[in-house]
Amino acid sequence: MPLLDRTGSREDRWTLSEGAAIGNIPAALVPWEVLAEALDAQEPEQVIGVLIPNNVPFAELAPFLPRLTLVAIAFPAYSDGRGFSLARQIRRLGFAGEIRASGPLIADQFAYALSCGFDTIELPEANAARQPVPQWLHAKDSFSATYQRGYGESGRNVLDQRRAARAAAPVAAE
């Protein structure tokens, strides 16, 4: 399925396995239910990612994170925002691998997804066909700054920009 990151379309190196039998798939994306089993079968050269439903309790996922290269979070509908909070929790624990949003998102959510810690969006074919990549890149840059601190690139938020402006301003002569 079509995949994009902050620069545009991207090749998908991951192969979704049906079950825990990951054989010698170099980059194996496995369903949440069989993750433990798949990790037991992991070969030294192999990297493993997991596809999780968006209602997996973070505490159950956390112990696996050090051994994962990708966490793909399913979005059953674009209006279901649980994935955003889950991504935040994963990043907070220091996970440095790829976080992917998988499902029928819309372009207007691209900036939100990136600032919550996602790297990639994997879209169903029909959604990708309706919303070509340039729309995503345009929507991503719709706002020059946001109001929330701690989301996305620091310096892109209004509060830190105001703080920087105050620091740079000459002291009032009153």
Partner: protein, 556 residues
């Protein structure tokens, strides 16, 4: 009041451009109708019964005269010459054309206004005490907090696709005029008993609608500096744990109810403990920057009581009654906060014509430091009026049909638009409000009855706050006929309570009689100086139920 800086200005302009682009992508098929709908709602565009409705945010109810004049202009140019003030301190236009919306958003941006998040499953327009900054019982002005939350919640990357809508209200006073216990989050500024610092008491899980609930306190004293991180913790728990299987069970009140306030609090505190507060919270300089905009205006030094006012009152009893009913004490000597009733007898509650808006804007500019407020009771307030100017203001309001002396009385009815406008409504509300107003039109009788809040909703969603009305009226549809259920004993203040149903539903024409009987029971049973709600609490529901049964029997 708050003024946009370059960042706020750019944000609102970028939002208008974004919405314009979203409309274009809907039209070229990039977005399906299902995909577009939540985007449209988050920009205040609502599909109503007869037409589109545009809901404009009035953050924490504060406006200046230029903004109100712009609303008057929009009402004239793009609507039918009036607007409707709502219980969320918003303004709604009922008849704009969809194609005009981008132009209207542009006109709003010109005066630092917007429609951002006035609908949709996101954090809605933040409301606050309409006497913020002026009330004598206030510990601290709640508006800097509300403005901080307005900014923080605007286009929030994580909390823009919540299970359901989310409403936050803030008060800084002893008396609750912001109905905080009926909000998803209610914040109350209060002083810590030992440190004497102002902190936030935080309630979660209040709400009306089909499952009315009173919010539960999850923190007694949150240090002010921790506000945004604590809100983030609450929102994250709700976003992850709130039910999404059933939209009627998706509000945070259901989550709090199902897992219990204690467990909900535990989860929030556990999440909060994981957060890096300093990287999330606004720094003190930013908080101070916002607060500075809400510094009191330069009041004149005046005697506490104006002789001019006293003389005018003595000479004109009608004026004296209006002053007594529509003004409240003010922090500054010689000043008062004046409520302009948008409930003249027989009008739709909360409606104002463009001409009336301009008149009020002129008065605000001339007599109230260019400031006014929208109240959740669908009235307007001039917050800083010199007592000696009241007579002149009264005369000018009278010319505009705005001098009704009924604030807080039986004809000051809160009412949703009901079946006359709303796609969700199952019964009419406005004609019921008008019929009750006509029944109790006599001013002397209204004053004799004293404070009495009637609130009417035209459907179970309770936009008219009927659950917290001293007398609540809920319009329903039964077998094709409008039926009205009466509740008693609700309270929207710091003593928040949900009213109880009195008996079977009534036909529309029976409602004024039923109210009459309820009021008669109170008048017969009240002790000296006892208000309606105090009387209901003291004597209980039984006598009212008995009288109500008579109405129902007479009608049968």
């Amino acid at each position: 009041m708050y003024r946009y800086d370059e960042f706020d200005e750019r944000f609102v302009r970028e939002r208008v451009a974004q919405f314009t682009d979203q409309v274009a992508r809907r039209l070229d098929g990039s977005l399906t109708e299902d995909e577009f709908k939540p985007l449209r709602l988050k920009n205040g565009v609502y599909l109503q019964l007869h037409a589109y409705m545009l809901r404009i945010a009035v953050p924490y109810g504060t406006l200046n005269s230029q903004q109100l004049r712009q609303l008057a202009l929009i009402g004239e140019r793009y609507d039918r010459g009036y607007g409707h003030f709502t219980t969320r301190q918003n303004l709604q236009f009922n008849w704009p054309k969809l194609r005009d919306v981008p132009a209207i958003l542009g006109l709003l941006a010109d005066v630092e206004m917007h429609c951002i998040q006035t609908s949709g499953n996101c954090i809605r327009n933040v409301t606050a005490d309409h006497f913020a900054g002026v009330a004598q019982d206030e510990i601290e002005d709640p508006r800097p907090t509300a403005e901080l939350i307005r900014q923080w919640s605007s286009a929030h990357p994580e909390f823009s696709y919540l299970p359901r809508k989310f409403k936050i209200a803030v008060t800084g006073a002893e008396a609750d005029r912001a109905v905080i216990k009926a909000h998803d989050i209610g914040l109350r500024l209060r002083r810590h008993p030992e440190t004497h610092e102002t902190c936030y008491e935080i309630s979660v899980g209040g709400g009306l609608g089909r499952t009315p609930m009173i919010g539960k306190v999850v923190r007694d004293y949150l240090p002010k500096k921790d506000l945004l991180a604590y809100l983030e913790a609450i929102m994250r728990v709700y976003n992850l744990e709130g039910r999404r299987d059933n939209k009627y069970k998706a509000r945070v009140k259901i989550l709090v109810h199902e897992i219990g306030a204690e467990e909900f609090t535990r989860r929030v505190e556990a999440e909060f403990a994981q957060l890096d507060g300093p990287s999330i919270n606004a720094d003190p300089e930013e908080v101070a920057r916002i607060a500075a905009y809400f510094a009191p205006p330069r009041y004149e030094v005046l005697p506490a009581v104006s002789n001019t006012l006293e003389a005018a009152k003595a000479a004109n009893p009608a004026f004296a009654r209006w002053v007594e009913v529509n003004t409240v004490p003010h922090k500054a000597p010689g000043y008062t906060a004046l409520t302009i009733s948008l409930k003249p007898i027989g009008q739709a509650p909360g409606d104002a014509t463009s001409e009336q808006m301009r008149r009020v804007a002129d008065l605000a500019e001339r007599y109230s430091f260019d400031e006014l407020r929208v109240t959740h009771a669908q009235n307007l307030v001039l917050p800083h009026v010199r007592q000696r100017d009241l007579y002149a203001i009264w005369q000018q309001l009278g010319e505009a049909g705005l001098a009704t002396a009924n604030v807080g009385l039986v004809t000051d009815i809160i009412s949703c638009p009901g079946l006359d406008y709303c796609a969700l409504a199952t019964a009419r509300s406005i004609p019921i409000a008008q019929a009750i107003q006509s029944r109790f039109a006599d001013e002397a009788r209204q004053r004799e009855i004293g404070p009495l809040g009637i609130k009417i909703s035209g459907c179970i969603n309770a936009c008219g706050h009927h659950h917290v009305g001293h007398i609540g009226i809920l319009g329903l549809e039964k077998r094709g006929i409008e039926s009205y259920q009466i509740t008693l004993g609700g309270d929207a203040t710091e003593n928040a309570a949900i009213g109880e149903i009195l008996g079977p539903g009534l036909a529309a024409e029976e409602v004024p009689d039923a109210i009459e009987r309820i009021v008669s029971v109170y008048l017969a049973a009240r002790s000296e100086g006892e208000s309606f709600i105090d009387n209901v609490r003291r004597i209980g529901l039984a006598p009212f139920k008995a009288a109500f049964q008579e109405t129902a029997r007479a009608a049968a």
